[in-house]
Amino acid sequence: MTINKTQNGNELRIALAGRLDTTTAPQLDEEIQALEGVEKLIFDFQELLYISSAGLRVLLAAQKKMNKQGSMVIQNVCDDIMEIFEVTGFIDILTIE
């Protein structure tokens, strides 16, 4: 999985490409541990093809963190991943644009 980060002041955009699964989730988790000073976190899922519960766990950790220091949104979610968000109830926890 590729992670592309763009920081603009206190806004951080993270674009994911590939698969967010058991083997790649730790990469993203590392990024989530380093969010000091970020007030707006934007995930771009345009190139993300697949997410499993390992990925959902990292997203939940990110959401919990950002709830304390600002906001988090997810953009460009494909239909298949949206379905996973719906089935798991994550559609109500995450802000999806």
Binding site: D21, Y50, S53, R57, V87, I93
Partner: protein
């Protein structure tokens, strides 16, 4: 029907998923179906790799029976680890907010929600989990 036996180690996850994807491709499973089955398979295999054998090494055998005419796939996961019935696990409360939602516990819930059928049996010291999905 094809079968693969691999060491129950998360490093073998991609080998398993490639094997399953090939079988589903041959049966002309839809892209959405492939994704759902792959996610369920990942959850089941990672659980086996993480918990079934504690600190020992062990094997996981996966059988895939995918049929183009019936537009259906039956996958069976077999391990010889500790007895564990995934169906007895309580579902997470998916109405909880981010603050109240515990991290984890979602994997098995996703398997149950995304597959048409999930069943478990314990036989001769083995856990046998069967999942069924129809893509028509």
């Amino acid at each position: 029907m094809k079968e693969i036996s691999i060491e129950a180690d998360v490093r073998n996850l991609s080998t398993l998923l490639s094997f399953i994807a090939d079988e589903l491709d041959n049966a002309e499973c839809t892209k959405k179906g492939q994704m759902r089955i792959a996610i369920a398979a990942e959850e089941l295999f990672v659980n086996i790799a993480s918990y079934a054998y504690k600190d020992r090494k062990g094997t996981c055998t996966v059988r895939v029976d995918a049929c183009k005419e019936e537009a259906k796939a039956i996958l069976t996961f077999i391990d010889e680890g500790e007895a564990y019935n995934l169906l007895e696990k309580q579902n997470p409360d998916v109405t909880l907010s981010a603050e109240d939602r515990p991290i984890g516990g979602l994997g098995i819930y996703i398997v149950k929600k995304s597959m048409d059928e999930v069943s478990y049996k314990r036989e001769e010291g083995r856990n046998i989990v069967t999942i069924v999905y129809s893509w028509e």
